[in-house]
Symmetry: C2
Subunit: 208 residues, 2 copies
């Protein structure tokens, strides 16, 4: 199992979200989808009140160009959003309001809305359309999304991320807790998961 | 030809320096070695007066771990320096004091001294020992290193880097000016150089 920690506003989380199941799956690994909020971490760790890609324009300029190349190599559409970063709080809460098995489809659709379709992902109608497309009742899911259970789960995710040393997104964790930052580290995280001690079942080690 | 822009204090420039000739060479491409000073860029672009890996400890902690994994995969020794970042000004000037053909060996040796041998690369005796090892006269090279020609060349490199949008090291440029940041983008830069328009000789295009 690979843990995939993502923030809906994060640009490189978009290609990561679109390919994590395929890359992990080819190695026989499942994916645990972990939405969290990066804003509080950026603020606490770096004093940032905006994306570092806005705070440092020369980095932002490169990021958009690099992202375009990454998406082109992956065959993913990319349209630079008018608003960046978008507010992903509602989408993150909706993710946790859904049953776990339904989350990956929703997450990928939100990333596509944000980075390929020019949609505003903090807009209820955008999220409702995605939910409807996958057979969910927006009314029921939105009600769950503001429940205390969901709010606490998302808050816990963000606090757990901070406690484990996360400072950006996407971040992957191998089963032994080894951390990998960035879409371009996904393959390395998978290799690590396949070779690290905890990834190998104890019985298999004893039997070999 | 791939341009390899590096700063001697930069951690990820170490594995990049050790492998850039091999990776580019396997694709039939030469390497232009371009030392520059990252400090002035960090300050002008981000207001930093120290490495971002020191300014944001959680990023620094991850970087050292990630660098260890990268070096392990490359079979490169790594010993975390007691002083980080080291002052690479003298080493950068010495690089430009050497004939171009002699620079790669010197650069690799300085990175090895900094990141594998625990040496202080701002120390004349460390640089002199490297020069002697490669058959140069430290006295003559050091005299050149403080010449106006060398000072101006290094200053120009740094200003050119800034003007071209460099904000970190290593940075690679393909022949058409496409920029790639980070050791982990070297392969992509090489692929780009092989497929971009300017990388294909004009005569070859006309003849095909």
């Amino acid at each position: 199992m690979i843990e995939f920690w993502f923030e809906f506003a994060s640009t490189y989380s978009y290609p990561a979200a679109m390919r994590v199941e395929r890359v992990a799956g080819e190695a026989g690994l499942g994916v645990a989808w972990k939405p969290f909020l990066l804003g509080p971490l950026f603020h606490a760790q770096q004093g940032l009140t905006d994306s570092p890609f806005n705070a440092v324009p020369v980095k932002g300029q490169y990021m958009w160009r690099d992202l375009a190349r990454v998406c082109a190599e992956e065959g993913l559409p990319l349209r630079r959003p008018d608003i960046f970063p978008q507010n992903g709080l509602k989408a993150a809460r909706v993710t946790h309001a859904l049953p776990e098995a339904a989350r990956p489809d929703f997450v990928r659709a939100v990333y596509t809305a944000n980075f390929a379709e020019g949609a505003t992902i903090s807009d209820d109608s955008v999220l409702a359309a995605i939910l409807t497309r996958f057979g969910h009742s927006p009314e029921l899911v939105f009600a769950q999304a503001v429940s205390n259970r969901v709010k606490v789960e998302l808050k816990n995710n963000t606090e757990t991320a901070a406690a484990r040393g996360v400072f950006g997104a996407p971040t992957f964790f191998a089963p032994d807790g080894e951390m990998f930052w960035g879409n371009d580290r996904l393959e390395q995280a998978v290799r690590w998961a396949l070779t690290s001690h905890q990834a190998t079942p104890k019985t298999k080690v004893d039997a070999s």
